[in-house]
Symmetry: C2
Subunit: 281 residues, 2 copies
């Protein structure tokens, strides 16, 4: 349904002569032309106009589906165990709440999943400024993770709709989780990244369950949303199953990056000492 809105958006842009657009009408137009800011026109490979403002052609990719889904960091140190059991204990209420509604579950959990990358990226950005130092690419890696998770949400939004109490829940959970993760990252980035590593392991598990339900026919394998087809360079006839496959592969990549980041800290280094896995997906 958002496809409709986005189409509508593009149309508007076309009919307003590529300025202003949307609800503002005449006055918006004036302003845009006064400040001279208009989005750079981006074209698709085939020459058509690019319809998305949340990602651009050079950010799309073909997912590496061959990534090992079973990799696991065995908790060794005390902090590892704290991270592991924190995540495990969060699993029970989550399972209880969502039961088999994996579409809804995916959508809801992606609203949370997009927080750590943003918090980590922001903190490293501020640190880079304060210390007059390069981050070695880690700011970008973490912000890219946040954006990738936001794309997961934008995709699942197309196939599931949140009810009002689910919106209220997301609101509350984000408030708590943002602050908790912020504090954790300030106090111990190695713990914070480890927690995310384990969260991603659980996400892989949930998406595997999602796939099972799709294969059993308990969840309808609807066509993939247009946004997903463009973002992951999927074939035009891709289905929800294909989307879940690439999303699961993304989570496995996040798992690797975060466990790796935690490992760097465990060895007493700062992230910038190791090469940032830019463009790893």
């Amino acid at each position: 349904f958002s496809t409709v809105t986005l189409d509508a958006k593009t149309e508007k842009k076309a009919e307003t002569g590529s300025v202003g657009g949307a609800a503002g009408g005449g006055r918006d137009k004036e302003i845009v032309s006064y400040w001279g800011v208009s989005p750079a026109k981006v074209t698709k490979e085939d020459g058509g106009e690019w319809r998305w403002s949340c990602f651009r052609p050079w950010e799309t990719y073909k997912s590496n589906l061959s990534i090992d889904l079973k990799k696991h960091h065995a908790p060794v140190t005390f902090l590892d165990k704290v991270a592991y059991w924190t995540v495990k204990s969060l699993r029970y209420p989550t399972d209880l709440f969502f039961q088999r509604r994996y579409g809804c579950r995916a959508m809801m959990l992606e609203t949370v999943a997009a927080v750590p990358g943003m918090v980590g990226g922001m903190l490293l950005h501020c640190k880079s400024l304060r210390q007059f130092e390069h981050s070695g690419g880690w700011i970008k890696v973490l912000l890219e993770e946040a954006e990738n998770e936001r794309m997961h949400l934008m995709t699942f939004m197309e196939v599931a709709k949140p009810r009002w109490y689910e919106r209220a829940l997301v609101f509350t959970v984000q408030g708590v989780f943002f602050n908790a993760y912020f504090m954790a990252y300030v106090i111990s980035p190695k713990l914070a990244h480890r927690v995310v590593g384990y969260l991603e392991e659980e996400a892989i598990h949930s998406y595997t369950e999602f796939l099972k339900e799709l294969d059993k026919g308990n969840i309808e394998n609807v066509p993939a949303p247009a946004i997903a087809i463009d973002y992951w360079q999927l074939p035009q006839d891709a289905t929800l199953r294909d989307v879940v496959m690439v999303v699961r592969a993304d989570e496995a990549h996040h798992r690797d990056v975060n466990h790796f980041a935690s490992d760097i800290h465990y060895q007493g280094h700062e992230l910038k000492k190791a090469p940032a896995p830019l463009g790893y997906h």
Copy 2:
């Protein structure tokens, strides 16, 4: 040329054999190979290896130096005036502190300039997640601004070195400014963007003074740092003067974007209602 980089991306995924690198040494390498994360190999247009991790080839650009440097938003409403006089009153202590040391001034102020984009982008990101809504590209626009400002800092760091008390000052100023801007953005994004618009107008003024000092010979016109040559696609023999020119043009672009964003809010709209000026520089 984005095709080149994308090709490169696919390649490196295949040859994940070459891992590790950087300062960590042996143990780091093991970890990298366990998690299989290694930075995507990116090549330059001429086939050489890309040396920067803080920006990538498709993020470089030729600055539009023809941008109007004189544009100004005349403060009309009460909030406009608050924004205007806040910025004006910050100018005096700043002038007093730095006097004619424009290199040092640029470096110090860029540590502050990179904060608003990050705060705004982060808040819009969280809002997008909470509301299950697209941001219309504004998250990306603001994060790009933050990154661009960070690149200004990374550039000026090469020509000026902070002393210990300057580091202490930056530390304090960032703590205060981050929180102040965060609060301002939550309470009134229209005020927040207006303040940034005026700050950018002042930045243009300072860089113009910087250029005058360079032309008078009071500041030595040293060769441009390598990072600046690659980021702004400058000729190999570019100088500090060329760098200040493109940085000033960047500030003029930020001025436009932020005044525009404020104008959208003044008309009672959310940013997502107007097309985000993606890739505007």
